[in-house]
Amino acid sequence: MPRDIGRRRFIRNGAIAGTALFAGCSNNGGDGGDGGDGSDGGDGGDGSDGGDGGDGGQTATDASPPSVALAVPSLEFTFFARMENAFNQAKSDGLIAEDSTFYDAGNSQSTQVSNVETAISNEVDFLMIAAITAEGVISAIQEANDADIPVIAIDRNVAEGETVSYIASDNVQLGQRSTELCLEFMQEQGDADTYNVVQLEGTPGASVTNDRGQGFQNAVDDNDALERLASQTGEFSTGEALNVMEDFITQYGDDIDGVFCQNDLMALGAHQALQSADMSVPVTGIDGTEAWVQRFSDNQYYGTLAQLPEEMVTTAIDTGVAHLDGEDVEDSITIEGLEVTQDNASDYIDQYF
């Protein structure tokens, strides 16, 4: 009997520990999602339309390139891995000093704080940070402020503390432009007075979902020819988007003239559903995911708005250099997404993957 009680207690404690751990892990998942949002949230323009104060900075680096640090949440996300590549590229191009350091926080808040502290003790010339959460790095940013090290926020702004500039994309704009790209495709495909578009939304409540949804709504409001037929969450997931798209097809069938997806993974699912229903309508996404862009070669009316994290990093470096040179820089720089269609799909893939 005592043995039995012992075991039961063990199981119960195990379950409690497990629940705690599980909560922890789902928290992690949440963070991961945040990072994912981050990857959704950030984008890069094609430099030329960055329209920022730092573009001229490149030439100013001739003397001796600054020693800098870039801290990102997690290399698990392609988005940040591409930032690392851009960072290394800038290093080999001599835009930044050889001893510049890239920090991966492995999705841990405390690691990111220590990363920043390490950078401060290394007395970097300026610090670039893509924060895991806006609030989690406040103290570290203040330390940097105290040490007179300029801070540039990338992708996600920090809640407090002084930053030189905040460089990120505008998800409202991305949503609107992607929806309007879809409208263009629909107009090319056939003449009609109005076009019915369905939207596949991201995870309910995520700020990216809200912003991109707002952009979709703006596009519908601005264009008389555009009608919102239906909207449903696809959870940013291919499988979920496939299920929802099948149900859309059942319900609305040929009334659907186009599909706007809040990310490219869902566009893959929408494509799959349309294909098995023998339908061919325009589909646009956001992000510039390789697998989605590869579908463009067979599909004239597929498109996306690509995020170019490389541009984000170079813009941040340029901005930092300009600031060190004593120039005034913009408080916040919006980076435009790059429109990718069949025309430039292969160039895009060659250049970035």
């Binding site: 698990e76 291919t238 299920n243």
Partner: protein, 328 residues
């Protein structure tokens, strides 16, 4: 189990209560079916019913798999990640991309490779649970992380497209006018139910799930049974991964996301006891269909995500309530 020794009027009450628990799920399913038929004119079309079956197949296969450990009073929290990593492994092996860059293998080998990986995960959590008495809640949670990590390594965290047709055929083709994914689901369901009803192993699962100590005293190899259920669950997850490749037409590193709880919820919705010993595959089928029809119907009606979540919450709560009313 005690109901056989209870006598008189309390027997009467118990019967009605247990009838609710036995027929609750099927009544719920029929109720949803009728309700949606009235609420939406496209719900009852053949095409839509085929769609529903197709949409529930992946969750269904995972639910069948996880029914085994649940009947045995175990739980498998790793199914979604095992499904993901094995699907990604099959895809990368068959295409020869990412981790296996340039070393493509024939499709059957790729499939077996994925299933072997799943079995290895099942053996790992199963052995540690059965041999050392660590709750399967913990061991499969550990495997959840392991499998998730391997999935990222194998796929390089990027979708894989251009899968060979022989690989996608399991989940993406038509056989006799029916989607192959549905046929895979239904055949696995039948095989599993036969296994539970007519094999010694099936009987032992109920025995161990009902009362482990008693089963042990009767000479059942409890360790083998507990480990076996977790291996079965992992292998079924890998089959789910295989058909997912066909359904999506690609392998996506996030394809297992949010697929952990629906299969487990489906099993419980179908009337299985979370603490082991009772339940069957027909119940699981009903549970899976309840979840699938609910989502399909609400989608057709254009109910917003928030409303869908509320509806799912209500249905789940009613179902588990019916379960417990039957128990006591």
């Amino acid at each position: 189990m005690l109901s056989s020794v209870v006598s008189g009027s309390s027997l009467q009450n118990r019967l009605t209560a247990s009838e609710i628990s036995r027929y609750g799920p099927i009544i719920g399913l029929v109720g949803l079916f009728v309700a949606f038929s009235f609420l939406n004119d496209r719900f009852l079309t053949v095409q839509n019913q085929v769609n529903v079956l197709r949409q529930v197949s992946i969750i269904g296969i995972m639910a069948i798999g996880v029914t085994f450990p649940i009947l045995c009073a175990e739980i498998d929290l790793s199914i979604a990640q095992v499904m993901e990593v094995t699907g990604l492994t099959m895809a990368t092996l068959a295409v020869g991309a990412r981790l296996f860059e340039g070393s493509a293998v024939p499709v059957p080998v790729a499939i077996l490779g994925g299933m072997a990986l799943a079995a290895a995960f099942g053996v790992l959590s199963g052995y540690i649970t059965a041999r050392f008495g660590v709750p399967s809640f913990m061991t499969t949670l550990a495997v959840l992380f392991l499998a998730d990590g391997f999935g990222l390594i194998v796929s390089g965290n990027r979708p894989i497209i251009g899968l060979p047709e022989s690989l996608t055929a399991f989940g993406g083709s038509q056989v006799f006018g029916l989607p192959s994914i549905v046929l895979v689901f239904l055949s696995l369901l039948i095989v599993s139910q036969l296994m539970l009803s007519y094999t010694r192993f099936g009987l032992y699962i109920y025995a161990v799930g009902g009362d482990r100590t008693a089963a042990e005293r009767m000479g059942v190899n409890v360790m083998a049974v507990r480990m076996g259920t977790l291996v079965i669950s992992a292998v079924f997850a890998s089959i789910a991964g295989l058909v997912t490749l066909g359904r999506l037409g690609s392998a996506v590193p996030t394809m297992g996301a949010s697929l952990l709880l629906p299969p487990i919820a489906a099993v419980i919705l179908g009337g299985a006891d979370l603490f082991g010993g009772s339940g069957n595959m027909i119940g699981t089928l009903i549970g899976v269909l309840i979840l699938g029809i609910l989502q399909n119907g609400l989608n057709l009606m254009g109910v917003a995500p928030s409303g869908q979540l509320v509806a799912q919450g209500i249905v789940l709560m009613l179902a588990v309530l019916a379960n417990v009313v039957g128990e006591n």
